[in-house]
Symmetry: C3
Subunit: 366 residues, 3 copies
Amino acid sequence: MTHLEENDFKEDIITSDSENGILQGGEKDLRTVKANPNYWYPIAWSYEIDRGKAHAVEFAGEPIVLVRPENGEIFALEDRCSHRQVPLSKGVVEGQAVRCCYHGWTFDTTGKCVDVPYLGKGKLPNGVCAYPCQEQNGVVFIFPGDKTKAATTPLPKLAETANPDYKTRKFNPRVNCHYTFMHENLIDMNHQFLHRNIMGRIKARFLGKQTGDNFIEVKYSFARVGNKQPLAEALIFGKHHQYEDGQQPIDEIVTIRTEYPYQTLRVTSKDGTDMISLWVCYLPQGKNQEKTKAFGLLSVKRPKTPFLIDAIWPVFGLFTYKIFLEDKDIVELEQKAWIDQGKKDWNVEVFPVVRDLRTVLRNNGV
Amino acid sequence: MTHLEENDFKEDIITSDSENGILQGGEKDLRTVKANPNYWYPIAWSYEIDRGKAHAVEFAGEPIVLVRPENGEIFALEDRCSHRQVPLSKGVVEGQAVRCCYHGWTFDTTGKCVDVPYLGKGKLPNGVCAYPCQEQNGVVFIFPGDKTKAATTPLPKLAETANPDYKTRKFNPRVNCHYTFMHENLIDMNHQFLHRNIMGRIKARFLGKQTGDNFIEVKYSFARVGNKQPLAEALIFGKHHQYEDGQQPIDEIVTIRTEYPYQTLRVTSKDGTDMISLWVCYLPQGKNQEKTKAFGLLSVKRPKTPFLIDAIWPVFGLFTYKIFLEDKDIVELEQKAWIDQGKKDWNVEVFPVVRDLRTVLRNNGV
Amino acid sequence: MTHLEENDFKEDIITSDSENGILQGGEKDLRTVKANPNYWYPIAWSYEIDRGKAHAVEFAGEPIVLVRPENGEIFALEDRCSHRQVPLSKGVVEGQAVRCCYHGWTFDTTGKCVDVPYLGKGKLPNGVCAYPCQEQNGVVFIFPGDKTKAATTPLPKLAETANPDYKTRKFNPRVNCHYTFMHENLIDMNHQFLHRNIMGRIKARFLGKQTGDNFIEVKYSFARVGNKQPLAEALIFGKHHQYEDGQQPIDEIVTIRTEYPYQTLRVTSKDGTDMISLWVCYLPQGKNQEKTKAFGLLSVKRPKTPFLIDAIWPVFGLFTYKIFLEDKDIVELEQKAWIDQGKKDWNVEVFPVVRDLRTVLRNNGV
């Protein structure tokens, strides 16, 4: 672990500023860049769709119905009967097909129309779109883009969800902002000031970054500069020492990585072992993608006394939820400012990490 | 009563399909066709407007005030003072005139300004529009179009409202869809699948249709294909026989007619006598007519034991209301789909009856 | 005091009509004229902003934060961090500065950015706008326009707020209409008909007007033409005599003056002394200024029995509040009509006073 001086960090900013200018003019407004559909996106939790039921979801304003037959695999169709455009999710699951609630038109797992009760089989009309669909570790994924690319595009690795050494919490909030604000919020740890009332005053130290065409990874360490360590944090990480100058270095390293379109955060102890692993994907909602439904999996390493984590789980849950609510409020205020300013991004970003992230999001989005 | 084979019906569709094509391209989108104002439209129930009171209503976004003087006939004016445009319906009825609540400008039955309290009679300003207005059987009608056509345009016949052999229920729901979805919903009896939970599974048999420049009339018979006959239906029609194959033919014939701009439904017993008679008119709401206020009169023939119908009336009311709520939900979903799809009609209609109805609505609308 | 005959008043209207035409065509729609920002506008009551706190307000859609340090004068900044555009009013007041809640950027009383916790002092980014700000008699004023004009533009005189012979009520309603409707409502006393249920039927007599480039002042007397004098009015003004013809002259003179952008109303007794003095300013809300937040100060002369006014104060408050609610309803209906008519002003104004007022508002607005 390298403790860079603060000055190094500031030099880095100054250099970047003189190269790029504080405002990046001429580019497409980041908040109008659409999420690239040629990836596997989480769209529901498995437990949300009972056997024999249909379930309505959405990708960027496109209505999608997830259907789980009594027997067999879940499938995903356009949630719009090809007859009168009403949602198939209001219909009835029959075998490996779904029957529209209105006039009873029926569509199979591929979207083909296989029955119109008052029409001969020889003259069946067009069907509806089908989406590639898979389940993994309790998450339902669809591939909303070019179907021919689905087979060769891997599912993402979901943090430590399948690892029995970890306990995992699912969370699934709706946030009224463009997905890019969510990426920026998490990757810029200088925003710890926002959580001062919950976490105490913590100062982030930037340790370095790595970038590539479709990713950026950043490392931070932290020091507590005021207030006491909160209970939930002490229970997970152990109690940190307090020094006489009021500063209290925090030993763990936090690594945040956006690898398009997913984002992860890892907390590593000073001996290099993982302690917390977060995986999150931001599902765009609405045609203009001004809303987001996040799918998050937060895995925490079980301590040696295994029942302890279950005991503190509710406290930890409340703690992370309260932090999340502060983040949700602030990114929604960012979105509101963007709308109030005539859908123009006035953000003046001085932190090179956020500028690099923007390049990744802009170049990989559509 | 002719029992056509199902095959005949399917042939009819196939023939129509090959003639017309499933999608009717190039025409004006039906959901943007405005209701023709040169008809008498029901706009309120008589009991809604007390003597000496003014009552606000609307035709296609145009505000209208109905005024019932203490003595004399109801009259209808533009609901907008010619001074500062506030609603005259907030004002005071004085003799055969209505006085605006704000500065007291006063308008007579013809819309002429007859008093401005602080202005000489010789210099009275312009008045407001007046609408031809009539009452019939408890319904107030206005003629929103070209006034010169009002006198030669007959009021509609209101089913069996005035017939003492019938008991009539008024209903007056607001539905958030274009009026054309309402016409289509009622005329296409293949949508019985929608009501499977209330009425049991019923299959419609198309018996034939008649069309003209301003009307289409369709006849159906029905067979019960599953579930039991509901109580309210059995009370009105008597109990239907159940056959061993599970099918249960229903003897009554249903005739549905759109005669622009009105729609009727008649249920006739096997001996040819009328049992139920529905009259309905869809009043467009809002400038773009994307909402509808329906005025319906449902008349049921009194059985020989006359008190029986009063006893079952609440059950029958609830039964029809629950069916209506299903229809309201589905047509509002159709409207929503139309809006979500950029105000484009993607409906793929294979049933010739609905295609003919569309022609009537398109050619008679404006 | 001159009692003009009603005829004189009508002649005046007729003359104006023939000169100007009832409709004033070709001009910019009055409801799109923006309030001129080069004046001191009330924006909050002093008691609303505690020491050490920030408070969000708005002028015509521009977000503004009022900051009151623990020590020192209140100051006003753009309520938008120059970093990520979130409201500074969510932040923390530190000394003579406010720190943004998100990443901790800090701005002083002039809007200059004085700290970014993770950035060197030599490289601080741009700050935010500051607004000239003053407090007077419990009202916080800002100068939203050209700052160089602030010093030479006087604060308005706030009726009798500072006069111990008067008791003053503050009111601060939000009204969903353009500020010009508020000016017109108050200056045209022919709208007494609106308040007939609260004040009884009162007829205004126009006594004359004075106009200038930036003001119009009008005088009225009144006569009661029906109903009884309300209690609250009798308590303030004394009981008026009732004559046999049912008319009851009211001795007081009412003077209403719009002196851009403020409006005042004075009630003077027959011996010429002031009894009631109202000062009001309409703060535009929203970018298109289709909403208004009014700041009103209503001062009533204390009677010789001084405790009496305190005893009747709640009754008087309710009385004026009920009158205000009627005014609020009607001006909001005017605004609604304007929007429903495609944001066009169809008002046909026959009263010269309102026409002159419009000229003042149009020529002094922007």
